[in-house]
Symmetry: C2
Subunit: 166 residues, 2 copies
DNA sequence: GTATGGTTCGTTACAATATAACATCTCAAT
DNA sequence: ATTGAGATGTTATATTGTAACGAACCATAC
């Protein structure tokens, strides 16, 4: 089922989510780690759309499936999924979003729309290149980056400028 | 009193902090807003060093001065100082750091050292330029950015490679 | 088989971070 | 004196995240 009621960039989201879940399962086998039921369910819930999801929302949503779920249940699954690179934490929202490029471990930036709440992951090589130069200038050794941009996405901008016909 | 026991880039920190506080006071007058005792004290506590400071640590530190201080006291002061551009929130640490460029409202990136915990604000024009190009490509209108890089700063790298003489 | 050990999960309790809501105070302008 | 805006006091609570410990599971070695 696609997200037909949402207006962000239309795409076949059931394909999108299935691709992600299938690849994640493959990678777990390759890496010899366990994609347990809980972990898979959390990953599916995060992939339900392209929004960032909060841990306690995940907890509410998973309870019908795992009635014993507690905060630790969720945070453990999130830790696992992050270690495997399947999801990103959105620091400025205290929330989590599915990673759209599971194979290559790129640094990414996140474009977060205030209006539709979609999060778009971009690799932005020129930005990353400029960042590396800046690190060199500063003598800084980078280990981890969080680059989060809040604003209005292309789709919302368009629909804001195109009022409904009726 | 300078921070002689810390090893990050030596500078005259009492000058550094006084400059910041004086300028903040000036700007408040120019803008017709009140730098009240609480707000000034919080700003001073944040400027005590170049580390990011957590709200509840500020609360503990301000209690000797403002015995009635409660969480809301701190968060209100932090809100004010952020609105005025005197401090930044470090999203990935849930903490706050003094802004080192009060006059010009640049977007900045933060280099956060895991070892000495210093936070260096940099303007990195080439990075910001590359970001603007990326936004244009994506059709994204940016309102606010959080660019936070965790790693090891130049000073720590040096001192790590230069073991003590004795 | 059963011991051993690593991983995952259940469970309880709590720590840490942040906000809501409403009362009170202050002080300048009227 | 009165009023109104901004700042603070105060209580309560919401939200986010961890610690700690035991039980269950399961593969491997003895």
């Amino acid at each position: 089922m696609t997200n037909s009621t949402e207006h962000p960039a239309p795409h076949n989201h059931s394909l999108c989510i299935n691709t992600a879940l299938t690849l994640a399962a493959q990678l777990c086998i390759e890496r010899g780690v366990q994609l347990t039921a809980i972990r898979q369910q959390v990953l599916e819930l995060i992939w339900a759309d392209h929004h960032a999801v909060k841990a306690y929302d995940l907890l509410e949503r998973i309870k019908p499936l795992q009635s014993s779920a507690k905060p630790a249940t969720i945070y453990r699954a999130l830790d696992f999924l992050r270690e495997q690179g399947f999801i990103h934490r959105v620091e400025s929202l205290n929330a989590f979003v599915g990673c759209t490029d599971l194979r290559s471990i790129h640094e990414q930036l996140l474009l977060i729309c205030k209006q539709c709440e979609n999060v778009e992951e971009r690799h932005a090589d020129s930005v990353m290149q400029a960042l590396r130069q800046e690190f060199a200038l500063a003598g800084f050794t980078a280990h981890h980056q969080a680059i989060e941009i809040h604003g209005i996405c292309a789709t919302c901008t368009q629909s804001n400028n195109t009022p409904p016909l009726n």
